[in-house]
């Protein structure tokens, strides 16, 4: 009975672990770079920060690819930020192949489109609190109002090849996919560990999630 936070040497995983510990009700949270510990965990959280080419390289350098791919297909699995992006087939960032767990690509916010309604330039990275619009009912959205704000910081976003994967979208300035769901897998572009009450609720929902129970949220 452990929750493994996959550590491949990139970015700050402490805040993810801290937030999980806050909501896990005593379930041990381990930050680990051991494939065996990832395999043994009941639930797996796959975070990420930094540049995707570095993240993929470091993941492989630690021999974690197989363990992550297996977890993503079998056990409750939560991808966060680059951890979401790495699940796709390819990213525009450094033209990097991903893990190809999900069909689709990751692209950069296109410069010419980055204007708001009044013509003012929108900054990239997309940094700050944005509204997350839920596209499907899902146990991980339970108790979180549609349109709640979560904290984002990223320059690239996913374009799933299968629209049925989209679990939520946000606007900047166009609608983009910011969460995906399939069976035992859920992944978000925003940072639940830094998103105050809504983020902690999503993490608590993940800790309690039983994908085998179906995708209908409890009453």
């Amino acid at each position: 009975m452990t929750i493994a936070v996959v550590d491949y040497g990139m970015g700050n995983l402490r805040s993810v672990a801290r937030a999980l510990e806050h909501v896990a009700g005593g379930v041990p949270v381990v930050v680990t770079d051991s494939p065996e510990q990832v395999e043994a965990a009941e639930r797996v959280v796959f975070p990420g920060q930094g540049a995707m080419p570095d993240c993929m390289r470091e993941l492989d350098a630690r021999g974690l690819r197989e363990a992550v791919v297996r977890a993503a297909s079998r056990r409750p699995f939560l991808g966060i930020c680059i951890g979401l992006q790495m699940l796709f087939e390819r990213s525009e960032e450094g033209n990097t192949p991903g893990l190809a767990v999900l069909p689709g690509e990751v692209i950069r916010f296109p410069e010419p489109a980055m204007r708001d309604a009044s013509g003012q330039r929108l900054k990239v990275p997309h940094m700050g609190w944005n509204e997350v619009h839920q596209a499907v009912a899902h146990p991980l959205w339970q108790g979180i109002a549609d349109g709640s704000r979560f904290y984002f910081v990223h320059s690239y976003f996913p374009q799933p090849a299968d629209p049925a994967l989209v679990a939520a979208f946000a606007h900047y300035p166009f609608a983009f996919c910011c969460a995906v769901a399939r069976e035992n897998l859920f992944a978000v572009q925003f940072h639940p560990e830094k998103s105050h009450d809504a983020g902690l609720r999503l993490l608590a929902n993940f800790v309690a999630w039983d994908p085998a129970a179906g995708s209908q949220p409890a009453a």
Partner: protein
């Protein structure tokens, strides 16, 4: 759509929050963890901690403070003051900071910002720029100069050019403080803020001079800032983060309420 951010700033030294340095000296404003929790409950979008003495023996105190705050407050935390090396950044991030703010060390060694951004990602590297108006620059085309060492040392660098250089080096955002306004409570140097916000493609946090809620609104509506930072208006219960957000919303600015 994306909300503009309101960021309370906590100047800390010796494990305590103190009132801004340039304004009637140091005055105790409380325990950092309590102050952080109060602002979090008021709806702060992020918190900034600036270690204003940044002495080597104060480092352990700062780190334990960051750890204590990070265990209880689940919003982004920026920590700055005396960040000089990649090792300094790592220690701060491990303690629970989400972003490290680099100021003097960026000027002394410009390659440091690129190195830190390459190692940890641009999202956690904030470059702080302390800018002062060049006295003889024309009012219709003002210029600003970069200062370091807490605003005491002139560098000869043009602030806008420096901001562009830091952006190119991989800074994720700029924390822009007007040394002319800092501690005066006269409001932001709006021309400075607008010049940066309009020129740079990364987010700009406006800082220095806030004395009223309206100043925060002006920073967004007239300065085009992506985020507005203030210290003293929050510390003594004069205004809450909620006051600022309601005023921003009333002015038509998107905020997280």
């Amino acid at each position: 759509m994306l909300a503009r951010r309101v960021i309370p700033c906590l100047d800390v030294t010796g494990g305590r929050v103190v009132k801004g340095v340039n304004f009637v000296g140091l005055r105790d404003a409380g325990d950092p963890v309590e102050v952080a929790r109060r602002y979090d409950q008021q709806g702060a979008d992020e918190l900034a901690f600036l270690d204003i003495t940044a002495s080597s023996d104060g480092r352990a105190t700062l780190l334990s403070m960051v750890e204590a705050v990070a265990a209880q407050v689940f919003i982004p935390l920026t920590v700055g003051g005396g960040v000089r090396s990649v090792a300094d950044v790592r220690v701060l991030l491990n303690a629970g900071a989400d972003k490290a703010s680099i100021n003097t060390a960026a000027v002394q060694n410009p390659a440091f910002v690129a190195e830190a951004a390459g190692r940890f990602g641009s999202q956690c590297i904030v470059v702080a720029i302390d800018a002062r108006r060049v006295p003889d620059s024309p009012p219709q085309a003002p210029r600003w100069e970069v200062y370091t060492h807490g605003g005491r040392k002139a560098t000869g660098l043009d602030a806008l050019e420096w901001g562009e250089r830091m952006q190119a080096s991989g800074a994720g955002e700029i924390l822009l403080t007007s040394m002319d306004r800092d501690g005066t409570r006269e409001g932001f140097d709006l021309e400075l803020v607008r010049a940066f916000s309009d020129r740079l493609s990364i987010p700009v946090i406006a800082s220095g001079g806030v004395g009223s809620v309206q100043h925060m609104v002006d920073g967004v509506t007239e300065g085009h800032a992506d985020a507005v930072l203030a210290a003293s208006i929050f510390h003594y219960g004069e205004h809450t983060v909620g006051d600022v957000k309601r005023a921003l919303a009333a002015a038509g600015v998107e905020v997280r309420l």
